[in-house]
């Protein structure tokens, strides 16, 4: 609504009050509510790591360093070497453990980093944002790189002498990389 139109409506307000309230109101360009986000507050929370790895922080960690952290902080929930703990199994039983086949009952229970996770960057992102469960957000970048390296090694994806950093982690290709398809259910009227 431009200014002239508004003043005309103001003049005619008593006469056309009901008409005016019945109309859908235009949204202003801005409500002027909220403030500019500071670079510092964005940086403090902007922790997501996409598959391109561009947002990975400086730092690095080796498989061996990761093993020490894993034993101390992760094994109690996820088991020795990522298997047999009370929480999610993280490691494949063998290098050729297949992607879950939905035509076999219960194979969906066997989803680990090695046979199901499509991106190695997600391992870093998730450990950094959520783990360990009793002390979330407590690991520094070097420790997260090291744990990621160790878990990828246990899953037969990187060698025992691997070191992960912003460059090497982004280059890791996961076995399940091309196993995910978009949702197409809504094209169908029957279950799909």
């Amino acid at each position: 609504m431009n200014k002239n139109a508004r003043s005309i409506k103001m003049l005619l307000l008593p006469a056309c009050f009901y008409l005016v309230v019945a109309q859908a109101q235009e949204q202003p360009q801005t409500y002027g509510i909220g403030r500019t986000a500071t670079a510092a507050e964005i940086a403090a929370w902007d922790i997501d790591i996409k598959p391109d790895g561009k947002a990975l922080p400086p730092g690095s960690g080796t498989v061996a360093e990761g093993e020490a952290i894993y034993v101390a902080q992760c094994a109690v929930c996820h088991g020795k070497e990522g298997v047999g703990g009370p929480n999610d199994r993280l490691v494949v039983h063998s290098a050729d453990e297949p992607f879950p086949d939905a035509s076999n009952e219960d194979t969906w229970r066997h989803r680990t980093i090695g046979n199901y996770w499509p991106y190695a960057t997600t391992v870093f992102d998730y450990i950094r944002r959520s783990m360990p469960m009793n002390l979330p957000g407590s690991l520094d970048a070097d420790e997260v790189y090291a744990l990621t390296a160790y878990l990828l090694h246990l899953n037969h994806i990187v060698p025992a002498d691997a070191e992960m950093d912003a460059k090497t982690l982004a280059q890791v290709e996961m076995p399940a990389r091309y196993r995910f398809v978009p949702d197409d259910r809504q094209k169908y009227r029957e279950v799909h």
Binding site: D48, N104, R129, G137, V191
Partner: protein
């Protein structure tokens, strides 16, 4: 997948407990109300309430009658609890009975300190306080919210509707349209995804594709009051019709982008293996579903007229029909839908049935405005595979009416 456990006390079981012959004593409820209880702990009401003054006068907060023992059922890991579908009427879920699911506990948030940062592919990165959001134009909408893992996998006969499918609830949500905030920050037309991130200890994050933006809301109220802590206090994302996990609670950050973020919750979780050794991803829409809530386990019934009741819902839009079968799958009849029917919302259906007292199975199926018909279990398994996992399972479920009047869950195998 949620752990399920046996319901210890149901409302009906509590009501069945009769006042004992033993003398009564005064007891104080959790809410501070003095009530007489019998030896069986059942409150004893006056024989004639017109001859004694009321037991309470005005108070600053209402409370349920001590005869109403409505309860959610928490899972063994305490990361979820289910809504008592069999005890509810109409379609609105009382907020304290709304199902919950969280990944690192319920955060304790001071709303005066909470903020929402919106950045990424926007012209003006902005920060909104909760009071900022309260000042922006508000919208209210009644819709369901359902966990995508809302089916008890190995349910035995002794399974309540609550344990079978109690991770769906319905509220009137109030908040700001996402589109309002998008205008304020000037979202780039090249943007096609945004990350929604919570302030919980999981810092739970999901990528939301553009197709859901028109209806998305940032909500701060649930059934007329602030959103409950376990449902996202002080603000959460609401994507009507979409799986609950995508409706990120305790929302603190949104980042607009031109590609998905591939978080753990949209790769290793909340994806479904389907036939062909692939997994379906970003499958946010909840398929049409229904469940009969009366009669259901552990009800007992008598032969004669029964009004079968239940709820039906669909993430694709409005429910256009709910059909009820009372003869173990041979024939279906159109149930009556309670108006008004809202899009992407629970609707209550009712169907009169004159039970002859003989063993039978009753079930329901939902039909939505897209023409989708809720499948039976065999159809579901044929389409997705028996090993598709816990998400987005919406098969028809039934209750067996046993001669004699016991009602139990109709057990079906997945294999």
């Amino acid at each position: 997948m949620t752990d399920k456990r046996e319901l210890n006390v149901t409302r009906r079981a509590a009501l069945v407990g009769m006042a004992g012959a033993a003398g009564t004593v005064l007891a104080r409820t959790a809410a501070g109300q003095d009530v007489q209880v019998s030896g069986s702990n059942r409150p004893v009401a006056p024989d004639d309430t017109t001859k004694v003054l009321g037991s309470r006068w005005s108070s600053d907060l209402g409370q349920r009658s001590p005869y109403e023992a409505l309860k959610r059922v928490p899972s063994s890991t305490l990361s979820s609890s289910e809504s008592p579908l069999q005890d509810l009427h109409g379609t609105i879920t009382p907020a304290d009975l709304h199902f919950e699911r969280h990944h690192a506990g319920v955060p304790f948030i001071d709303p005066e300190k909470h903020k929402l940062v919106i950045h990424g592919m926007v012209e003006r990165p902005m920060t909104f306080s909760v009071s900022d959001l309260l000042r922006l134009p508000a919208v209210s909408r009644i819709c369901f919210l359902e966990c995508s893992g809302n089916l008890y996998h190995d349910a035995p006969e002794q399974t309540t509707a609550q344990l079978l499918a109690g991770m769906t609830s319905q509220s009137e949500w109030t908040g700001v349209m996402l589109s309002t905030l998008m205008r304020e920050v000037g979202v780039s037309p090249k943007s096609s995804w945004f990350l929604a991130e919570g302030a919980d200890a999981a810092v739970l994050a999901r990528s939301i594709p553009k197709q859901f933006w028109d209806e998305a809301m940032i909500v701060y109220a649930q059934n007329g009051e602030a959103v409950r802590p376990e449902n996202g206090y002080p603000i959460r994302l609401l994507n009507p019709g979409c799986e609950g996990n995508s409706c990120v609670k305790w929302l603190r950050r949104m980042e607009f982008s031109d590609s998905p973020f591939m978080t753990r919750e949209e790769t290793s979780k909340y994806t479904e293996p389907v036939i062909g050794e692939v997994a379906r991803q970003f499958s946010l829409v909840m398929d049409a579903r229904s469940i009969i809530t009366y009669p259901s386990y552990p009800d007992t019934i008598e032969k004669g007229w029964i009004e079968i009741q239940g709820i039906a819902w669909s993430g694709r839009g409005k429910i256009t029909g709910a059909e009820v079968c009372t003869d173990d799958g041979r024939s279906w009849a159109q149930a009556v839908l309670q108006e008004p029917v809202f899009s992407k919302a629970h609707v209550r259906f009712r169907h009169l049935f004159n039970w002859d007292g003989k063993d039978t199975v009753i079930m329901s199926r939902a039909i939505d405005e897209s023409g989708y018909v809720q499948p039976n279990r065999a159809e579901w398994i044929a389409a997705r595979g028996p090993g598709s996992g816990p998400y987005h399972r919406n098969p028809i479920t039934g209750w067996r009416l046993k001669a004699g009047g016991d009602v139990v869950y109709r057990v079906e195998e997945w294999g």
